[in-house]
Symmetry: C2
Subunit: 452 residues, 2 copies
């Protein structure tokens, strides 16, 4: 009776005070203790960052990382592990710079090409700058205001949003479509305020698209402080900028998805997938994005093994190739899974960095969501309070329609965009305890799910 | 009826889904938006760290900081602000080093004197090392095992505890009493593994005590990595260490509490105190400990003013002198308050750093605790879920018995002891958004409390 009351209250949206099973709670405690003490995920990530380095789409480093991760998973007791070929764009970045003429002198504006941008001519592009605050603003300026100029998207992430992922969602459209839109009005290039909330002097890259546009203009991000300098200087007469980018997509190359299976005891055909993407942008080491997710995923079977838990279902670690430049790895994996009738009983993605865990988002039917939300009391002692409906992630999206139980891991988001797609995304951006609390949280969730 | 049901559920321990008043929620939103956009607290803290620097007990820098903070509070609209004299120990630190003889060569062990330690003789102290894992272990070794040696406390914070403040509580006794206990058995000095969870190469200082002991032996902390080196080398024959410390308490000096009042409209005699301590250790800049608490406190009246809220009660910002070396400022303030019959309607301390806010601890009677817990729904959108009974902090402790409503601000604790009392505690250890989410959370709580 008491249990029914509790269930009813939980169903009514009252959370977190339900009973927990003491044995299960003890096993979960041992998972966290092992993660925080052993720090194997951090050691893996450190190797990936320092010994292998950045892993951009089409790079040999991405392949070196894939081979290394496969070996590590076999060493950690995987029953099988293999590399799945994925054809990806090969991204090249050479020299890049941007300067502003100001009172007769040149001021450096730290800049980086957006991923996919065409290069500038050999001498760069010099043009007057027109500042634009939104696509509506661009449209209102029209060809008259834009033609022959460099469009400067002085657009911001919304600092008032507590979830910086939501703030990112609102701002990234100018990165993705800024060049395509500006070209319609005759712009010769675009620069944009980096998509970040840290008011620093590093530019942040990220994917952009020309869509179906035949006119492709060079497109770069400049640092927050550079954007401040530039916007302060606007209005007192014309401002000229010179942009030089040596970059571009140079055909395609082969990268690999890593797939490692840790067989379940009696429900081996039910796959519990946990993954991150092994590629990264080229400016840092891809520590937060998404080395952390790879480390999380690799730790899940390892932690369960370390604490002596024998899982019923098969745990599959997938490290996807080329998320950043078009989800090629995720699409390849999903196609293969569909062709081979692989049933993912659950699929969880970690691609939000190594912040302190806040909870999970669950993309599933209401009953399944309620089942996961009922697990919250096991996580509250570890600071996880957010068990929201709706979740998954970019690399899980190609599985939709085929499988139906997705989970997105949700770390604290406050610092993520400080590092994101910039030279700052290095191993020293990673806090070992926060990272490993993430590993443990995902492993604990997989343990509880496996018990269903 | 619905409200009664909700109240009953809340009383029964079911949290967080209660109704919120839309106007209040909107005002709270404006507080967070102002904090995250304006970042005035971060600017203040940056000034304190970079322009003034570390503020150890008895230093002129502590006084410079106090005068600066008083001026800033007057500029921010304080009705009155003053400096309260506090007599404090004057701490001096000169050169310090520690080396280990290993296979004929000297290995440097990064070391720092604990606060209050006596210096070593001019040529340092060279002696065999005996490793000790606990006070029980020390006792079991006895005089026979310890006399004439340097005791090495190879003690750890418990990494399995999720609250690192709790882990600190369990480990800090070896820092506080290690020298006093070892001296009983004839030790000539002590060194200890730094009280931290980061496995790095920086030593962390902090207060120690000789109690009533007449024998005072030098006492230092060494870095985690140095402690690893030393403990790895133990057991393969005797290990000798040389410790040199030039340090000590050099009499007393005058420092100041800063007290700034922002008068309430109609309940001006009811004081809402918010404070942090203005002193710091000498190795870094005192950014997390406790510049962040000062910035939080200074922001509270400022944010309420920026959003146009006129408070009924008086908001008093108190920045205490010398917390680290004996709570002198807090004791002086409490004595003065008692003598002048000051009634603190509520007193809140921020001395847990600038991590992302997790909640508040409330030290008050059950009714008051329930009142604050009922405010939780206003904070859940900002990620604050922890509203525990029991709270306050070191600098509030002298007020106990006189007042009866204390609140401790609880930021996320995972990274705090990475920085704590070390050279790493600098402005670059501070994340602007996390800091300002703390300022906003405290200001929002003060707003809701003022509405009671």
């Amino acid at each position: 009776m008491k249990k029914l009351v509790l269930a009813a209250l939980l169903a009514a949206g009252f959370g977190a005070q339900a009973q927990v099973d003491a044995d299960k709670a003890a096993l979960i405690k041992s998972i966290y203790t092992e993660a925080l003490g052993g720090q194997q995920g951090y050691d893996w990530l450190k190797y990936m960052c320092e010994e292998i380095g950045p892993r951009p789409s089409g790079s040999e480093a991405a392949n070196e990382a894939a081979r290394w991760a496969m070996r590590e998973m076999l060493n950690a007791g995987a029953d099988t592990a293999w590399l799945q070929e994925v054809e990806v764009p090969k991204w090249y970045r050479g020299e890049e710079w941007c300067t502003m003429s100001m009172g007769g002198r040149e001021v450096n504006l730290p800049a980086t090409a957006l991923g996919g941008s065409v290069p500038t001519p050999e001498n760069g592009i010099t043009a007057e700058v027109v500042v634009v605050n939104s696509f509506e603003h661009l449209e209102s300026l029209g060809r008259e205001g834009v033609e022959g100029k460099i469009v400067f998207y002085n657009t911001y992430m919304d600092h008032s949003l507590i979830s910086t992922f939501n703030a990112y969602g609102g701002a990234v459209k100018y990165r993705w479509a800024g060049a395509m839109e500006a070209a319609k009005y005759g712009a010769v290039a675009t620069i944009m305020r980096s998509v970040t909330l840290l008011r620093d002097d590093l530019p942040h890259t990220g994917a952009m698209s020309y869509g179906d546009s035949e006119v492709k203009i060079p497109s770069a991000a400049i640092s927050w402080q550079a954007a401040d300098k530039l916007s302060e200087d606007m209005g007192a007469g014309p401002v000229y900028v010179t942009l030089f980018l040596d970059c571009g997509v140079q055909g395609t190359a082969t990268n690999y998805n890593v797939i490692a299976d840790f067989k379940g005891t009696d429900k081996a055909n039910e796959i519990m997938l946990v993954g991150g993407h092994i590629d990264s942008w080229d400016l840092g080491q891809g520590a937060q994005d998404d080395g952390a997710g790879c480390a999380h995923a690799m730790q899940v079977p390892n932690l369960l093994k370390q604490v002596g838990y024998e899982h019923h279902r098969t745990i599959r670690v997938v490290l996807w190739a080329n998320e950043e430049f078009g989800l090629d790895g995720a699409k390849e994996y999903a196609n293969w899974a569909r062709m081979n009738n692989v049933h993912h009983w659950v699929a969880l993605e970690s691609d939000g960095g190594a912040g302190v865990p806040r909870g999970f988002g669950v993309g599933a039917d209401d009953d399944r969501v309620a089942q996961v939300q009922a697990m919250k009391p096991y996580f509250v002692p570890y600071g996880l309070h957010e068990f929201a409906k709706g979740g998954g992630g970019a690399d899980l999206s190609p599985l939709r329609g085929h499988d139906d139980f997705f989970v997105g891991f949700r770390p604290d988001s406050q610092r993520y965009f400080d590092f994101h797609h910039s030279a700052r995304d290095r191993i020293d951006a990673i806090h070992p305890r926060s990272l490993e609390m993430g590993s443990a949280s995902i492993a604990a969730l997989f343990y509880l799910l496996d018990q269903l």
